[in-house]
C-alpha cells in the first residue's frame, strides 16, 4: 500500500477517524506522517487531528470560547491549538464543547471500565445500569427481543446485587 500523500513510499501509519459519522481512512508513510505532525511515538494518538475536529458544532463551541479553566488557566482557544487539555478540571470547564467532541472521537459518552476504590461505591453500578437501559431501549426499538430479554436480565442481576451489598 502506497502513502496517500506522496504516493511513493510504503504506508506504515494507518489511521481511521470518524468525522461527521463517516469513516475516513488515511495511510501514510513515516515521512509524510511526521511532516503532518503525526508522531510515531510509542502511543500513537489522534491528538494532532483534534484541532481540526474541535471546530464542529459551532454554536456550542462559541459558548466556551470565552471560558477559561479556573484551576489551570487554559482557555478553549488554547485547547484548540494544542489538542491537549490543561488539567483534569478542564474537562468540567469545557464540558459543553468536549461532550460532542468526545462522542465523535471515542464513539461514546460514558466511561464503562474500572473505577478507583474511592469513587462512590454505587456509582459504578448506576452507570452500568444506565448504559444497559440505553441498549435495552435501542434493542426494543429494533425489535430485537432476544437481546432485550438478555439486557433486562442483566439489569435485574446488577440491581439485586446492589440490594444485597446494601443489606
Amino acid at each position: 500500500m502506497l502513502c496517500d500523500i506522496c504516493q511513493k513510499n510504503i504506508a506504515s501509519v494507518h489511521i481511521t477517524e470518524i468525522v461527521n459519522e463517516k469513516m475516513v481512512e488515511l495511510h501514510l508513510c513515516e515521512q509524510c506522517a511526521q511532516e503532518k505532525g503525526i508522531g510515531l511515538s510509542e502511543d500513537f494518538s489522534l491528538a494532532n487531528f483534534l484541532a481540526g475536529l474541535t471546530d464542529f458544532d459551532l454554536p456550542r463551541v462559541k459558548e466556551s470560547v470565552e471560558l477559561q479553566c479556573p484551576n489551570c488557566g487554559m482557555s478553549y482557544e488554547d485547547f484548540k491549538k494544542i489538542g491537549r487539555l490543561g488539567c483534569s478540571q478542564c474537562y468540567y470547564t469545557f464540558k459543553q464543547s468536549l461532550a460532542p467532541l468526545l462522542k465523535r472521537i471515542q464513539g461514546a459518552e460514558q466511561h464503562i471500565g474500572k473505577f478507583p476504590h474511592y469513587a462512590d461505591k454505587g456509582m459504578r453500578e448506576k452507570v452500568e445500569i444506565e448504559e444497559l437501559q440505553r441498549e435495552l431501549s435501542k434493542a426494543i426499538q429494533e425489535e430485537n427481543f432476544e437481546q432485550a430479554a438478555k439486557l433486562r436480565d442483566k439489569i435485574r442481576e446488577i440491581k439485586s446485587k446492589m440490594k444485597k451489598s446494601e443489606e
Binding site: H14, D43, I82, Y91, D120
Partner: protein
Amino acid sequence: MNLNSLLAQTSEWLKGTGPDSHIVISSRIRLARNLSNFSFPHWADKKERKEVLSLVKDALFKIKYLKNGLFLEMDGLSALDKQFLLERHLVSREQTKGRDCKAVVISEREVISIMLNEEDHLRIQVFQSGFNLSDAWRLINELDKQLEQRLNYAFSPQWGYLTACPTNVGTGMRASLMLHLPALVMSKQIKDVLQTISKLGIVARGLYGEGTEASGNFFQFSNQRTLGRNEEDIIDNLERVVRQIVNYEQERRKSLLKQSREILYNQIWRAYGILKNSYFISSGETMSLLSMVRLGTDLNILRDVQLRKINELFLLTQPAHLQKIEGKKLNAYERDVKRAELIRERLR
C-alpha cells in the same frame, strides 16, 4: 541495579517465550493516569511538575512490585542512555525529549516501566513475552490498585480517568501486541489485513529501526478507543482480531513452504549466510535479514538457531545498544562494522 546492568539481561518482551511467540513477540498494556487538580505535564510550570514528580516518586517506592527497581530522572541521562531506554521500549520517544522533571521507574526484570511527567503524570506499562495480554492486565490492574491507595487520581464518573489528550480518556488504556508477519508481507496480503482491521477499531503501525528504514516485518496492533467499553472487552476485541491475524500468518507460512519451498529455503539460507559472513552491515539490512532468519527458525529450516538469540539480535544491533556494548560513542561507519562483528560472534 543501574542502567548499565540492563544490558546484561534480556528484556521481558524479547524472551521468545509465552503463547504463540513464533509470531507474537510481545504483549503490552499501558494505563494513563493523572493526579487530580495538578496541571498536566505539558501545561504545568516547572515547580508543579517537580511537585508531581516527588509525590509520585514517594508513592512508587512503597509498591512491592517496584522493590529493587530502577529510578531514573531523564534530565540526568546522556542522549545515548535515553536512546538506549527507547530501543528497549522502556520509555517513549516523547519521554526522551524536551522538558525537565521527567523520570522513569523500571522494575527488576523490565516487566514494568512507569513514565512520570510524560504526556500524562503517569504512564504505567506492563510487558509480557508472547501473546499474553491477560497476565499483563492482571499485573497492571493490581499495580494500579496499589497506586490509587496512595495517589489521588483524576477521575470522573462520566468520563473515567481524565487524561491530557481526550483520545485516552475513559479507561486510559492502550493494549498492544507486536507481531512478526513475514509471510503475510511476502505474499502481499498484509495490505488487506491492515485495511480490514482498521475497520474494527484497531490501529496498526509498522515498527521502525534507524531513520526511515523499514524494519523486519514487525507490526504493532492496538485498540483505538478508550471510552465506552471496559478494559476486559477492549482486550478481548484486540485478542480476537489478532488471533485471526496469527492464524492467517501461520497458514501463509505453511503454504509458502508448500508452494515455493525452494524460493523460501533460498531466501532464508542466504539471509543466514550474509549475516554470518558480513564485515559491514546497516541496521536496515540487518532487520530484514534477521526477519528471514527468524522465520527460518520457526519453520525448522534453521534448526540450530534459537528464537531468543534472534530476538536479542534485533535489539542489540540497534545504534545505542551497539555503543553501550562497545562502551563508547561510535559513528555510523563504526556502528556498521561493530554490528557485523556482533552478529558474526552471536551466530557462530
